[in-house]
């Protein structure tokens, strides 16, 4: 997910502007010159400045130098790069699985949700088929045991409560 500096810089500048504007609208503390708005406004203004500088490619030479130093220490592997490029969207899977956990773990319970997460991710990592199910179930039960039984974290029982 490489984004051009122009886009990331403009994004940061807009974010800074929004923070500045949002900060300026915060209610002041009566009788005091500086209130809750000062800090977000300073930070927001700073972000606007650096965002514009990044969008204008200022400071890029430092980055190129660091990249060149790194390239000295590693060999280029076109096959690995192609692999990475092909799978780059797959990187979104782990955060999506966490959102899945947020949405359904209360209803389905920890064991089922965790087993699904482990199973799906192991599959995405090209794990051996016959290993996926035992690892998904074993992993979920193990983590439940550690966190629920030993550390007393209230994990949702849901549809499949554990005997301990």
């Amino acid at each position: 997910m490489r984004i051009s500096d122009r886009i990331s810089g403009v994004f940061l500048a807009l974010l800074g502007a929004a923070a500045f504007w949002g900060g300026s609208r915060l209610p002041p503390v009566p009788g005091q010159q500086v209130g809750p708005s000062a800090f977000p406004m300073v930070v927001g203004a700073g972000l606007v400045i650096v965002g514009i500088l990044i969008a204008l490619h200022i400071g890029r030479s430092f980055e190129e130098q660091a990249e060149a130093e790194l390239a000295e220490h590693s060999q280029p592997d076109p096959e690995a790069e192609l692999y990475e490029k092909r799978r780059q969207w797959l990187a979104l899977l782990p955060p999506c699985l966490l959102v899945f956990y947020y949405l359904v773990s209360e209803r389905l319970g920890f064991i089922i949700t965790a087993a699904i997460m482990i199973g799906v991710l192991a599959w995405a990592f090209n794990a051996r088929r016959r290993l996926i199910l035992p690892v998904a179930l074993g992993g979920a039960v193990f983590i439940h045991l550690v966190f629920f039984k030993v550390l007393r974290v209230p994990l949702a029982p849901g549809l499949l409560p554990m005997p301990w």
């Binding site: 923070a19 915060l26 800090f39 650096v50 430092f62 966490l98 966190f147 030993v150 007393r152």
Partner: protein, 493 residues
């Protein structure tokens, strides 16, 4: 305190955990620490700190193992000298290479601890006289250092740091108690919890990265001879390199935001620069390995100096540790050394103990590495993902919202890393945001809105000067480089 059973068990268990996690490529020492936090929740304060110290020290060493044997660094801190170590392995000196990593890591760790013991109480004495003005500049200087040492564009580093500061603005934890940037959400009222954010940036982002990268080839079976044989001779042969590595590591550790990986890069480069035989570097020469190995472990302990004194993290590991210190009632600050002096002594002892047990446990780990490194990544990573969810749920006060925070920060960390924005600078911004704002606003209130007292007190004036030098240093460096390239080009015209 240290000899209590729970502390000893915690040290041993976290040592094994750190060794295993550090040796697995793709799992960094910071990730090992971040995933430990939910467990420290349930331990006594000393045991909690002990787990973090031990696990991080072990992980930094054991990151060298796959570097030596497979040319794949286990943690970023080993990346600087992986080629060198692997070249030694190819020459049939795997034992010596691994031995150097182990022996000089342990010595480096002890040197770093000595620096912590000597530096921290002395600095605490000075720090007791600091007011909010000095704290403000100190925090800003810390943030600026973090942007200076980042191996990328300093402007991007400043952007990442400001982003972190902006994130710290969320919630009602500000001098006026006004809800800021909460968008009506009650979950955001308490602000962004630091630990779930760090788990996202350091653990989830690693899982995401691993998913896009090719699996590593299995490690070849190798019979290893005596690990420590010849190390004493090397210690005597290269004393200068070792001491220089220790000192550089200690200095880099103290600098906020720069940690073990930076220390290793700088020390390796320095070893080559000052070596009598620089042409041997890269061919399996022990000199660079000694200096960098001594350096990265030394930086670990000295990273605790600013963390304990000023709550300014010396590296990403201590950024997490500061959260644990607050949680355990060991609030960082100079008074920690007067009011909780016994805890500090315990901390020193743990550091020394961890570095001593590193040698036998490290040898065991090296012998077992061919088995441990065969554990498929496809089975480890999914379990880590669930750990991220449950761990953040537990540390975030049993609130499912923390899981969303992990997901969001994983995405942010992954995207930033891919686009040259240093994650460590953002983390520093998040961790230090509240402190920066508090000292800034309190100072302004004290001075009635005037900025003069920020510059008129002697120590704060010095700190301010350092801050401005740090701010404009990249510009100076760029101008000098520009002039050099211009001078080089002009005779041709």
């Amino acid at each position: 305190m240290v000899m209590a059973l729970d502390v000893l068990v915690a040290i041993l268990a976290s040592a094994v955990y750190g060794l295993v996690v550090g040796s697995l490529p793709g799992l960094s020492a910071t990730m090992a620490t971040a995933l430990l936090v939910p467990v420290t929740f349930y331990l006594s304060p000393i045991a909690a700190v002990a787990t973090i110290i031990t696990a991080s020290a072990m992980a930094i060493f054991s990151g060298d193992i796959p570097g030596c044997l497979m040319r794949i660094p286990g943690t970023p801190a080993s990346a600087a000298y992986t080629d060198e170590a692997y070249a030694m392995t190819k020459k049939g000196q795997a034992e010596t290479a691994l031995g150097i990593c182990l022996w000089f890591s342990a010595l480096g760790g002890i040197a770093g601890t000595l620096s912590l013991i000597l530096m921290a109480p002395a600095l605490a004495e000075v720090a007791l006289s600091f007011s909010t003005f000095e704290y403000f500049w100190l925090a800003i200087l810390g943030l600026m250092c973090a942007t200076l040492v980042a191996r990328t564009s300093p402007i991007k580093a400043i952007a990442a740091m400001l982003l972190g500061l902006l994130i710290s603005c969320i919630g009602i934890e500000n001098p006026a108690g006004t809800p800021r940037f909460t968008f009506g959400s009650t979950d955001l009222l308490g602000g962004i919890e630091v630990i779930p954010a760090l788990v996202g940036v350091f653990a989830l982002a690693e899982v995401m990265r691993a998913l896009t990268q090719k699996d590593i080839p299995p490690i070849p079976h190798r019979r290893l001879g005596s690990i420590l044989k010849g190390q004493w001779a090397l210690t005597k042969a290269y004393p200068k390199q070792q001491v220089r590595g220790n000192i550089v590591g200690i200095i880099i550790g103290v600098l906020p935001g720069a940690g073990a990986d930076m220390a290793a890069w700088v020390s390796y480069a320095m070893a080559k620069r000052f070596s009598k035989e620089p042409e041997k570097f890269g061919t399996g020469h022990p000199e660079g390995l000694i200096e960098a190995g001594a350096s990265n472990n030394a930086s670990l302990a000295s990273g605790w100096v600013p963390s304990l004194l000023f709550a300014i993290p010396g590296d990403t590991i201590t950024a997490i540790a500061i959260g644990v210190l607050y949680m355990k009632g060991l609030n960082p600050g100079p008074t920690l050394f007067t009011e909780k002096a016994s805890s500090m002594y315990a901390l020193y002892i743990i550091f020394i103990l961890a570095n001593i047990i590193m040698i036998p446990l490290g040898i065991m780990m090296i012998r077992a590495s061919s088995h441990i490194l065969r554990v498929p990544r496809a089975l480890v990573m999914p379990v880590i993902l669930v750990f991220c969810a449950v761990g953040s749920f537990a540390t975030g006060g049993n609130n499912l919202f923390a899981v969303l925070v992990v997901a969001a920060f994983g995405l942010v960390g992954f995207t930033m890393e891919k686009n040259g924005y240093p994650v460590a600078a953002m983390v520093l911004g998040i961790v230090m945001g509240t402190m920066v704002e508090q000292s800034f606003v309190t100072s302004l209130i004290k001075s009635d809105g005037s900025i003069l007292p920020f510059l008129s007190r002697p120590i704060s004036a010095i700190l301010a000067l350092c801050t401005f030098i740090a701010l404009f240093w990249p510009l100076f460096a760029w101008l000098r480089r520009y002039k050099a390239s211009f001078d080089a080009a002009s005779p041709a015209r």
